[in-house]
């Protein structure tokens, strides 16, 4: 039999199988689709979480306080050194500006501060840090190094708040990792179980096929095609569900974080995710079929 002829025969048989016992196939596709939706949600959540954490962490700034009497020349020098070392943007803040800000932050009662005769605050340099340097440990090391530079009296960077946010980020990551592992394990159990049952319900077919002289490969081929088809259909359904999710639930979620300015409009679904879903769906369908059919080939 030519390759195309047998391919057409196997496809026909697979389609027949699906048309004639739609029940088991619907279940297999449903469980595959659910597994894929779980996977897709985990992926989307993880991507969103990264962006969200960046936004939540806000601008991480380091304030470097200078000795009284540092000359503008020295300040410019230091500013450059800091720029190089941290890779961030730097800005010199005069005592007057600092006092103005402080009184503003304190609100009405702080107003009195502006009327002080003598400004008690020192000159300082503010460094806006790039995302790479935001890990608490990296930041601490950086602060320690900056502290040893000439004219620097103190370095401040909101250590506590940052640590808190980082802890939240880690917990969320761990949580989503656990959720992901659970979803994936469930998916594998469910898919292989359903497929085994689906094929279990056809053990008679397999037995009879073998009795009339079918080779193992011949018996297996339609099941594999069925598995592939199931995977593809499930992936399509999953993409639809994820798209619907992104479309209907996404904005509500985004609205909650509107004040954070998480970024431009959410993309529907990442095309790479679509590819991944189809790949994983097909692989799971195929693998499930291979494993499941093997149990019934010994007749």
């Amino acid at each position: 039999m030519s390759v195309t002829a047998s391919l057409s025969y196997f496809s026909r048989t697979a389609l027949n199988g699906i048309v004639r016992s739609p029940f088991v196939h619907v279940i297999a596709v449903a469980s595959l689709a659910i597994a894929l939706v779980g996977f897709g949600l985990a992926r989307m959540a993880s991507a969103q979480l990264d962006r969200l954490m960046l936004a939540l962490a806000g601008e991480v700034e380091m304030t470097v306080y200078l000795e009284p009497g540092t000359t503008p020349d020295k300040m410019a020098e230091l500013q450059q050194a800091l720029s190089q070392r941290t890779g961030g943007q730097t800005r010199v803040v005069s005592p007057a500006e600092a006092l103005g800000r402080l009184s503003k932050e304190l609100g009405d009662p702080g107003h009195a501060l502006t009327s002080l005769e003598e400004n008690p605050l020192p000159w300082s340099v503010e460094v806006t840090l790039p995302p790479l340097a935001r890990e608490p440990e990296a930041l601490k090391a950086l602060a320690d190094r900056v502290r040893t530079l000439p004219f620097v009296t103190q370095v401040d960077y909101g250590q506590e708040a940052l640590e808190r946010l980082t802890a939240i980020a880690r917990a969320l990551k761990l949580g989503s990792l656990i959720a992901f592992v659970l979803v994936f394990l469930t998916a594998i159990v469910v898919v292989s179980a359903t497929l085994q049952l689906a094929i279990y319900s056809r053990r008679e077919d397999i037995e009879i096929q073998k009795l009339v002289g079918a080779t193992d490969r011949f018996v297996r081929a339609p099941f594999l095609i069925e598995g592939l088809l199931q995977g593809a259909v499930a992936a399509t359904l999953a993409c639809g569900a994820l798209w619907a999710f992104a479309f209907f639930v996404g904005p509500k979620l985004a609205a909650l974080f509107s004040f954070l300015d998480v970024g431009g409009p959410r993309p529907g679904i990442d095309p790479r995710l679509v590819l991944e879903l189809f790949g994983i769906g097909a692989a799971m369908g195929l693998l499930g079929s291979v494993v499941a059919v093997r149990r019934f080939l010994r007749v």
Partner: protein, 226 residues
């Protein structure tokens, strides 16, 4: 085609030290009381069961030691009428019959044509597109016979092929089997029907409790059964 054979699938041996030789192109009846081991003997030839001891030679090859992957190719040369039919309930009658050809990779149109021809030979062409559970017992039995014959096998094993058929159809089917035999196919028929054995006057082997107790022709064998 057959040599020394013994088989013990269950606890007590079902077949004990059977020696039997079927020539190519022969027509043989296999008879004996219920549970004697007729079906088991046919299953051995078909490698649906393996003998516990001894060998089964088919065209000079010991199929008792055939490896798994060789079985399908052996089976393609053997047509089988199963006592319990073994029809796929979810495929139409024509598809069930065509199954044997699909396995060989026969093109689609040819499969359909040959299946219909085989069904016609058993008088069931009008039921080609019906599902087996909607057939009467005798109709199902004829479908199985059509399936066994559709690819002109070298050997035909028929286990009680007329148990559910009326006398007129029984004769038609047996004539069909004789035709097939005349065209060169080796035919082994397990049956309880003494009238058949008497009518067709073929070599008849009698099994009883797993041993070959008698070998006779036609009415001598039939007389033994009463």
């Amino acid at each position: 085609m057959f040599h020394v054979t013994k088989a013990y699938p269950g606890d007590p041996p079902v077949l004990v030290d059977i020696n039997l030789d079927v020539q190519k192109g022969e027509f043989v009846f296999l008879t004996g009381p219920s549970g004697a081991g007729k079906s088991t003997l046919l299953k051995l030839m078909f490698v649906a069961e393996r003998p516990t001891r001894g060998q089964v030679l088919i065209s000079g090859r010991n199929v008792a030691r055939l490896r798994e992957s060789g079985i399908p190719y052996l089976r393609r040369n053997i047509g089988v009428v199963f006592q319990d039919f073994k029809l796929l309930p979810t495929r139409t009658v024509a598809e069930n019959v065509g199954f044997t050809l699909d396995v060989l990779g026969t093109p689609r149109e040819l499969v359909r044509a040959k299946s219909l021809k085989a069904l016609k030979s058993v008088g069931l062409e009008h039921k080609a597109d019906v599902l087996p559970p909607k057939l009467s017992g005798g109709e199902q039995q004829r479908v199985v016979i059509a399936r066994a014959l559709v690819n002109d096998p070298a050997i035909l094993l028929a286990d009680e092929p007329t148990g559910n058929l009326d006398p007129r159809l029984t004769v038609e089917i047996m004539d069909l089997l004789c035709d097939v035999n005349a065209r060169g196919t080796t035919v082994v028929v397990a049956t309880h029907d003494a009238s058949l054995i008497e009518r067709y006057q073929k070599r008849t082997l009698r099994l009883e409790r797993g041993t070959l107790v008698a070998e006779a022709l036609g009415h001598k064998a039939a007389a033994l059964m009463a």
